[in-house]
Structure formats: C-alpha cells, structure tokens
C-alpha cells in the first residue's frame, strides 16, 4: 500500500511529519492525534471494505462467565507470556528467569514476570521467623522483624533492578540472534515500598565514619555484598512490598535491600544481616563475578552503577511486521544516574535521528517508556534507540563502547552466557523487506 493511499484516507501523516530517515515521524503525530490512529487502523486491514462476515454473538457473549478467583491470573490466551528459565531442573548452579519485554508494554513489570536470579535456589522463608540484624560499627546492635518493619513509616518509589550481566550476549563480536527477553531480560521495573535504611542505621547508632556495610541474605549461600554507606544514607530501602503486594519469593521475600540504580546483585534479597564496617568484604561476587575484565587485562572493581541504557521492544526480534504502513516504535529507557532526559530513535542505522516522545511521569532510576511514530515503506531498515540521562550521560555507540570495553574474539554461542558485564551500548534491529527482524550491529 503506497503513501498516496494513506494520504487519501484523510488527515494522515504528510511529508512534513517525517523527521528522520526511513519514515520516522514527528512525535507530535502521537500526542492526541486521533487522525493518525485512524490511519493506522486503515492501513492495517485495508480499505476495500472486505469485512463482509456478519457480526454474531460468540459463546462468551451468551454463556455465564467463570468463577471469580481469589487470586487472578492472566487469560489462558496469554500463556506464552512467561519468563524464560536457564535452569528449570534446579541443578546445582545459578537460575535465571528473564522478563519478556517484547510482550509487555508500559513501565511496570508484573510481579509474576519480574526477572530473578538465584544462585542457590529460591529459599522458602517463614516470615514469622525471619530476622534482620544490624550490627558492627553501631552503638547498639538491633534485630528487626517483618512485623516491626511493617509498623515504620514506609516509603514508596519506582525503581528498576538490573543484573549487571544483563545484555551480556552483546559482548559477542557477532550479533547473537535472540529476543529482547533473551538479551535484556535481566532488568525489570517495579514499585517498591519499604523502610529507608538510614532510619534503621540511625536507630542502631551507626558510626558515621564507617564507609561500608556488608549486606547478607538468608539464602543457603548467604549471598553478601559490600555497599558504600554513602548509598545507604542516600536512598537505600529495606523493601517489604513489590508492586503493592509482599515481595515475590524469587525477588527476596520477605525483605530485600533496594539500592536504586545499582547492580542488581547488590540489592541483597532475603536480607538477614547488615554489618557496618570500615572495609569492603570483597566477597566472591564483588571480587570476581561482578568485576569486569578490560581488554588490557586490568579489571573494574565496584562498578556499582547501571548506566544509561535503552532498547526497542516493539518491534523487535521474534516479531514480524505485517506489511508497510504505520507502526508505533516503543521501548524502555533507564539510568542509574537519575531520570531519562531524552531518547533518540533512528530507522536508518544511525545516519539520522529523531527525538522520541517520553511517556510520563519520568522518574529517577526507573523505566521510562519512549514512543516514536513510524511509517514503514517496506524497504530494509535498522531501528535503534539511544538514551541520554539527566546527568548528561548518553549511551555509547557500539564502536565507542567496544573501544573501551572490548568484545569477544569468537561469537558467543548462547545468549545464556556471560562473557562480561555492564553492557549499555545500543541495540539494533534490522528489518528486511519481508518484515522479519534480526539482531544486527550498526
């Protein structure tokens, strides 16, 4: 279907709306433009008036509906919207469950689909027996329970949590053919409610000269991480609710540390102990796993921040465009440094860019949904997004990123591998004229 048809259909985008190569339209085309949406519908189904099948009542329109359940679950027609598992048999190794970003929209990750990584299985914790101890360089070591913490003035905020190994397959020297879920499924975004850690530290009389705390979980390996007291006093929460309900077992039930914008692994789950200390513990996760080898053989340590990042979820790998016409490009942007300031989108592999619309409210250290109206002419394109945060950090181009952080010498065989950590360069989706989508580097 050509451009002329759509223009004739009335009030659709015109050439003056095109703001960048390969059909990116000005974001005003999104905002309150019923005409644009009408155009989209008409281009999708054609204008020939072929919908001749007479309307009839379907069974669910005449039969009584099912029982209303106490705990509701998604429609049976949405059973494919699940996390992908790296260790479904619970073998003696780490288990990952990845969020299906390409099948979700908005910014909140439902609790059942929030990513989780468990290094020694999901503990089944009796909340009545769980204890949180704060000790070390404090005037008075204290024990807290879920009941007592629930009586504190609680704070609610949105925050993404991202494994620093998220997007790790993109260290591959050749693009791994995998979905947004496989590549980027180790980040999710939720509303967390909890007690500011600073309140509890003050109650215990934490020594203000202490530089670190060591947070430890009640899982079988007592996973622990060192956290700067700076972060603890700035915005750390002991979270006890996730999207309004108690925290999911895999996300740290009954309480977890929330360090907005910091490596997921530092957001210690099943939190049982905080020791205020004057040196980092350099436990295995901070000293080995989450220290990143650089091309010159040195390694980063204390790479706390999850830096500015974005990726397009619609359209993306695994989906197919059904012919030329209007599409809503959308995706997720976030930064450990604060709010997203801007997301630029390209449809020509970075030759030209246009600014996407940001769906408000734009919150710090949280997902921001961006949208970009697009009229595809059916020719091959490469879609990319590039975010900038309020601190002025912009996602590095791939060449810039690889120059500093390197890439593998051989293609990474599986998207489940972790050749390195902390990837925040661009994601590029190459769409051919048949509408099928590949992961490409551009």
């Amino acid at each position: 279907m050509g451009n002329g048809t759509r223009r004739d259909s009335g009030g659709n985008s015109t050439s003056r709306d095109v703001v960048a190569g390969n059909g990116l339209l000005h974001r005003r085309a999104l905002l309150g433009s019923g005409l644009m949406l009408a155009g989209a519908a008409s281009t999708g189904v054609g204008l020939t008036g072929a919908a001749a099948e007479p309307l009839k009542d379907e069974p669910w329109m005449v039969d009584l509906g099912d029982v209303t359940p106490a705990l509701q679950t998604p429609s049976k027609f949405e059973k494919h919207v699940v996390r992908t598992l790296s260790n479904p048999q619970n073998e003696m190794r780490t288990s990952h469950a990845r969020t299906p970003h390409q099948m979700l929209n908005g910014t909140v990750t439902p609790n059942s689909l929030h990513f989780t990584i468990n290094h020694s299985g999901v503990p089944e914790i009796d909340p009545g027996k769980h204890k949180l101890i704060i000790h070390g360089m404090v005037k008075q070591p204290l024990v807290f329970t879920l009941d007592t913490l629930s009586r504190y003035p609680l704070v609610t905020r949105m925050a993404f949590v991202e494994c620093s190994g998220n997007s790790a397959p993109m260290f591959s020297n050749e693009p791994v053919q995998a979905s947004a879920q496989a590549l980027h499924g180790l980040v999710s975004n939720a509303e967390w409610t909890g007690v500011p850690l600073s309140v509890l530290l003050d109650e215990a009389g934490a020594d203000r000269s202490a530089k670190w705390l060591v947070a430890e979980g009640a899982d079988s390996m007592l996973l622990h991480r060192s956290v700067p007291m700076k972060k603890a006093y700035a915005d750390a929460l002991v979270a006890i609710y996730q999207n309004g309900e108690r925290i999911m077992p895999g996300n740290g039930y009954p309480m977890r540390l929330l360090l907005p914008g910091y490596q997921g692994n530092m957001n210690v789950k099943f939190l049982r102990r905080i020791k205020v200390v004057d040196e980092p513990s350099l436990g295995v996760y901070e000293a080995r796993t989450y220290s990143q080898t650089l091309p010159d053989g040195k390694a980063y340590r204390f790479h706390f921040l999850q830096e500015v990042k974005s990726f397009i979820t619609h359209p993306s790998f695994g989906q197919t465009l059904k012919g030329p016409g209007y599409y809503d490009i959308s995706g997720i942007a976030y930064s450990g440094n604060g709010r997203i300031a801007r997301v630029m989108v390209s449809a020509d592999g970075g030759k030209s860019w246009a600014e996407a619309a940001l769906q408000g409210p734009v919150l710090p250290q949280a997902f921001t949904r961006f949208r970009m109206p697009w009229r595809w002419d059916g020719q091959p394109v490469v879609l990319q997004s590039r975010a900038t945060d309020e601190a002025g950090n912009t996602q590095p181009l791939r060449a810039e990123f690889v120059a500093v952080r390197g890439e593998t010498k051989k293609p990474v065989a599986s998207p489940l591998g972790f050749p390195n950590q902390h990837y925040n360069s661009l994601t590029s989706w190459g769409i051919d004229s048949s509408g099928s989508i590949k992961h490409v580097y551009a």
Partner: protein, 177 residues
C-alpha cells in the same frame, strides 16, 4: 513545606531528646556475642577470620573427600563446577577469559569466605570444620602456585598472601565510596 516551617521542623527535631525519638525504635537489642553464629564474613584485612589452621597437604585430602564430587579430582573441573580452579590464561587473552583464583582473585580471604559460607553447595556450613576450610583454601592457593604445599594458613597468614592479580583492579566509581 515553606522554608520557615521546614526550619521550625529542623529546630524541633534538634530539640528532641534523645535525637532518635521521632523514629519508631522497634528494633530489639542483641549482643555481638549472640550474633556470632551468623557473623561469618571474612575481610581482606583478616577481620572476621576464625581460629584454626591448615595446609595444602591436609587440604588435598579434604578436597578429595568433600569437594571433588562437584569440582573434579584435583580441582580440575567436575560434573557441577566444570572449570578448573587453578591456572587460567592471562587476562589479556580476552574479556571473556575464565577467571580463576590464580589469574583473577585479588584476595586470599575471598577463597576462605566463599568456602565457609557456601560450601559444600548442597550442605553449606554443616560439613567443614574451620581447620578444613583453612586447609582447602591452602590447597587451592597451592594449586595456583601462590603458596607452598606445607605453608600453614590461619587468621594471621591468610590475609598476608599476595595474590598475583591483586594490583590490577581499577575502582570504577571512586567518588561513590
């Protein structure tokens, strides 16, 4: 809140005595002695290391008996933990070079800490004495050619072990510490 009322609030808080009266104060006091069973973290300075000792000769026996089932004979890699626990290519070989105690780990205390809190994987903190943990730590350091076979590892000697890669780390965000 206006500046004036904010200032009044600050003044009120400052006058409150004790200073923490405005928070619920629902924590229950506990002594460090009562926390000791949970206080398992070993620090690079040696803080937190328990009494006990062991060397690589003793460690080889412990390893064969309690660790090799997952890590393989001689820590060469086994059915669960497939990578060898020693040696390793130089890190300049690539950003995905497998990390070993010898080519990567910066502190010997990390070996002790990880073993003490999490090993054996399916029976953590039930199956190894402190002497056995010092001994297996010594064995792994010996296999990595970092200490001698009969060198005694204990709370005093372990933090003094100079790891080969210790000085190759760059603090990524020093201003955040």
């Amino acid at each position: 809140m206006s500046t004036r009322s904010a200032l009044l609030t600050v003044a009120a808080l400052a006058l409150a005595s004790p200073a923490l009266a405005e928070t619920p104060g629902l924590g229950t006091p506990i002594t460090e002695a009562d926390i000791a069973p949970w206080d398992v973290t070993a620090f690079p300075s040696g803080a937190g290391l328990p009494s006990g000792s062991g060397n690589a000769v003793q460690g080889a026996k412990v390893f064969a008996e309690k660790c090799a089932v997952c890590h393989g004979d001689g820590a060469k890699g086994g059915p669960v933990h497939r990578n060898p626990m020693f040696g390793g290519r130089p890190l300049t070989d690539g950003i995905d070079t497998p990390k070993t105690i010898g080519n990567f780990w910066g502190h010997a205390t990390t070996v002790f800490d990880f073993t003490r809190r999490g090993m054996p994987f399916n029976q953590p903190r039930q199956n190894l004495t402190m002497d056995e943990i010092y001994a297996t730590t010594a064995y792994l350091l010996f296999l990595n050619k970092i200490i001698g076979e009969t060198e005694e590892m204990n709370a005093k000697t372990l933090p003094q072990v100079k790891m080969p890669n210790r000085d190759n780390f760059i603090i990524r965000f020093p201003d955040r510490i």
